[in-house]
């Protein structure tokens, strides 16, 4: 028995398994494992009913200091001094303020310098750290996996569960390795890598799995790029996506406000260096991607898997082998107002949105600004830049990025989720077509009847200026 145990202990493990094993509080037979949650991020939309549940059962928040709240989903992106016109949205924000006060949960409120999209501020403040378990009532919690943490989205009942117990019963997911060999070409970004993967495996290709991204092209990504990639894991159906931490990760985390300092930092670093899949660790599934074969991508349909290269055409319906997929494509094209076979570059856009937890970080804004510099937004297009957080907004302004955008005719807004889901006033009108750096092109996602095409920040900026999709690899930078 003992010897068998020792053998198990020395078995090569994946990064996911190491984090999982380190957080199992109890593993009662016949039940799910009870996983300890290091960090619980909270926002206004998926939490009110959870706090109500606590009150109804006379429970408290078990670990208020492992809980961090902000407002992002429904707040306006107009100047912060203005009152919120939408009374129901205002009520939801007020509910979060009251709940945080009552239960002692730290809140980065509307007017705070730290406010921003929940998945942007966690990393930015050094709250998100390697090796952690992180949950949030939001599916794009997978973003934090970029730091080598196990981060996943949960529903409101689970939010209540974590508030009350700091634990979650979980069935162990399967593991998938996505190995991206080679290098991404100039103009091909982490967003394109993510879209390329989803296009290949489908929106349910990773359902039931935790993805570990590996390979040279992933190692070469900045933390911003890694966050974009992990962010989109959920669009492939994955429970979570993660990347083993390395020097890039440590350099990003070092010195951030809530990150360990001094001796704690040295200790943390030593333990984080063990966070990698062991040689010989087995994944349930391995997928290989050739980075050099990827192009800038544009979605043509109503889910992120409906995607082609910018220099390709909208697919013909005859290209779908499965009847269900063919019908879905037909419905998607009808909704999108597109004909099969037309070149993507011929599609004109009405709106451009640069923002969301996928692509609103400083590097995203820099890359879009590089494209916009010295150019002008097409007179037929309304384009909007929404930084992911107040800190990013200020950093961008310090670098003068806002001037580049404003001079080129882009709107420069306050931070929040904004037109990623259109819960605030930033929405598409019926029939409007938008090049968007967000993560979901579902029907009505950005406004009822609105048509969303997902692209990288560079491709979005280029579409704003050209008035239609255009291959960034041919762009004349000024």
């Amino acid at each position: 028995m003992d010897r068998q145990w020792a053998k198990l202990e020395s078995m090569p493990r994946t990064l996911f398994e190491k984090i999982w094993d380190a957080h199992v509080v109890a593993a009662p037979t016949g039940q799910s494992a009870l996983l300890y949650i290091d960090l619980h991020l909270v926002h206004e939309v998926t939490s009110p009913q959870a706090f109500d549940g606590l009150r109804a059962n006379g429970r408290r928040v078990r670990q208020p200091l492992r809980t961090v709240a902000t407002v992002d989903h429904n707040i306006p992106t107009t100047p912060r001094g203005l009152p919120i016109a939408d009374a129901i949205a205002a009520k939801q924000i007020e509910a979060l303020q009251n709940n945080c006060r009552e239960f002692g949960v730290p809140l980065f409120d509307m007017d705070s310098a730290e406010q921003g999209i929940v998945h942007v501020i966690g990393p930015e403040l050094g709250i998100t750290l390697p090796g952690m378990t992180i949950v949030c009532g939001d599916s794009h919690t997978s973003t934090h996996g970029a730091f080598g943490s196990l981060a996943f989205g949960i529903g409101t009942s689970e939010v209540e569960h974590v508030l009350a117990t700091q634990c979650l019963p979980q069935n162990k997911p399967k593991t998938m390795q996505i190995l991206v060999r080679g290098n991404l070409a100039e103009g091909v970004t982490a967003k394109d890598l993510a879209l390329g993967i989803i296009g290949r495996i489908g929106t349910d290709g990773a359902t039931g799995y935790v993805i570990e991204y590996a390979g040279d092209a992933v190692r070469a990504l900045s933390m911003e790029g890694r966050m974009t990639l992990c962010n989109m894991s959920i669009e492939a159906g994955a429970r979570a996506g993660l990347i083993a931490p390395d020097e890039t990760t440590f350099a990003y985390v070092d010195g951030r406000r809530f990150a360990p300092k001094g001796k704690d930092w040295e200790e943390a670093l030593a333990s984080w260096r063990t966070l990698a899949s062991d040689a010989g660790a087995q994944f349930d599934r391995v997928i290989q991607i050739d980075a050099a074969a990827l192009a800038p991508f544009v979605t043509w349909g109503t889910n992120p898997g409906m995607v082609v290269a910018v220099n390709a055409r909208v697919p013909e319906l005859t290209s779908f082998a499965q009847e269900g997929d063919r019908r879905a494509a037909e419905q998607a094209l009808a909704y999108m107002g597109l004909e099969p076979g037309i070149p993507i570059e011929n599609i004109a856009v009405d709106r451009v949105f640069i923002g969301s937890c996928t692509n609103s970080r400083i590097e995203d804004l820099r890359s879009a600004a590089r494209v916009a510099k010295g150019q002008h937004v097409s007179p037929k297009v309304r384009a909007m830049v929404v930084p992911g957080s107040q800190a990013i907004k200020h950093a961008a302004e310090k670098e003068g990025l806002h001037r580049i955008f404003l001079d080129a005719g882009f709107e420069w807004r306050e931070s929040g989720c904004s037109m990623c889901l259109g819960m605030n006033p930033d929405i598409l009108q019926p029939g409007e077509r938008c090049a968007s750096t967000s993560n979901r092109n579902f029907e009505g996602r950005q406004g009822r009847g609105g048509r969303t095409h997902l692209v990288s920040p560079m491709m979005a900026a280029a579409a704003a200026i050209a008035g239609h999709f255009t291959d960034i690899r041919n762009w004349q930078f000024r």
């Binding site: 509080v25 109890a26 009662p28 799910s32 009870l34 300890y36 290091d38 939309v45 998926t46 009913q49 109500d52 429970r59 670990q63 200091l65 492992r66 961090v68 429904n74 129901i88 949205a89 009520k91 939801q92 509910a95 002692g104 730290p106 809140l107 980065f108 050094g126 599916s139 989205g153 529903g155 409101t156 009942s157 689970e158 569960h161 009350a164 117990t165 700091q166 634990c167 019963p169 929106t203 349910d204 359902t207 429970r239 406000r257 809530f258 990150a259 300092k261 704690d264 889910n303 269900g324 879905a328 419905q331 889901l421 979901r440 579902f442 029907e443 009505g444 996602r445 406004g447 009822r448």
Partner: protein
């Protein structure tokens, strides 16, 4: 939570793949701070005309509103049902509308978890079985299915039968309507022991306390 043992009801077919939670309950209805009252907004953008506000008029074209499926409590749909946003509001809307079971060939993980917490049973069958149920529900008037969680069986009493699987623990919780927070709290000693070994990092503690104080 409402326990689930056995249920018989009218089946309504939603013959689409990848039905996402943005369709099940559009974002304009997520600002409510209650758990109840979401049923009337179920599949809103597909069912109502107008500008997407609450005041839209029902078009009557959507399958859910067809008189022959009135009172349906079992929804059958294509693969990857409930993908996208984690919003539990999608499950609240389905349950509030009167659904007790959703049958599909696959479900998104978060949706399936959310369903479990609300006594909404998600039944996974093969693509062929789902297609068969969809066909029958379109052809046979008043088409009903019985779903038995104890026996893990689906049966229409007229030739269609299938078994399904579910992990034992989830099944146990559903059958008994267990409050799983209560179950977790039975492990108080283990949680406390874990926390003693893994205290909140000091940087976090000091700084967060200043935020709380201001």
């Amino acid at each position: 939570m409402q326990p689930f043992r056995k249920h018989t009801g009218i089946v309504v077919p939603l013959d689409k793949v990848n039905v996402d939670t943005d369709q099940i309950i559009p974002k304009q209805f997520l600002k409510r701070i209650e758990r109840t009252g979401f049923g009337r907004f179920l599949f809103y953008d597909w069912r109502f005309s107008g500008d997407g506000k609450e005041s839209g008029t029902k078009t009557g074209d959507f399958v859910l509103d067809a008189p022959r499926y009135a009172g349906a409590s079992i929804l059958v749909a294509g693969k990857n049902f409930g993908c996208g946003s984690s919003r539990e509001h999608a499950v609240w809307a389905l349950a509030d509308f009167g659904f007790r079971v959703v049958i599909a060939s696959s479900f998104a993980d978060i949706f399936a978890n959310n369903s479990l917490k609300n006594g909404l049973l998600t039944v996974r069958l093969s693509d062929e079985q789902v297609a068969d149920i969809i066909r029958r529900s379109k052809q046979i008037a008043n088409y009903r299915l019985s779903v038995d969680l104890e026996a893990l069986r689906v049966d229409d009493g007229q030739g269609f039968e299938a078994t399904f699987t579910m992990d034992e623990f989830s099944r146990h919780c559903l059958l008994n309507g267990l409050d799983d927070i209560g179950l977790t709290l039975q492990h108080e000693a283990e949680i406390a022991a874990y926390e003693a070994k893994h205290p909140v990092p000091s940087e976090m503690e000091i700084d967060m306390k200043t935020i709380l104080a201001r």
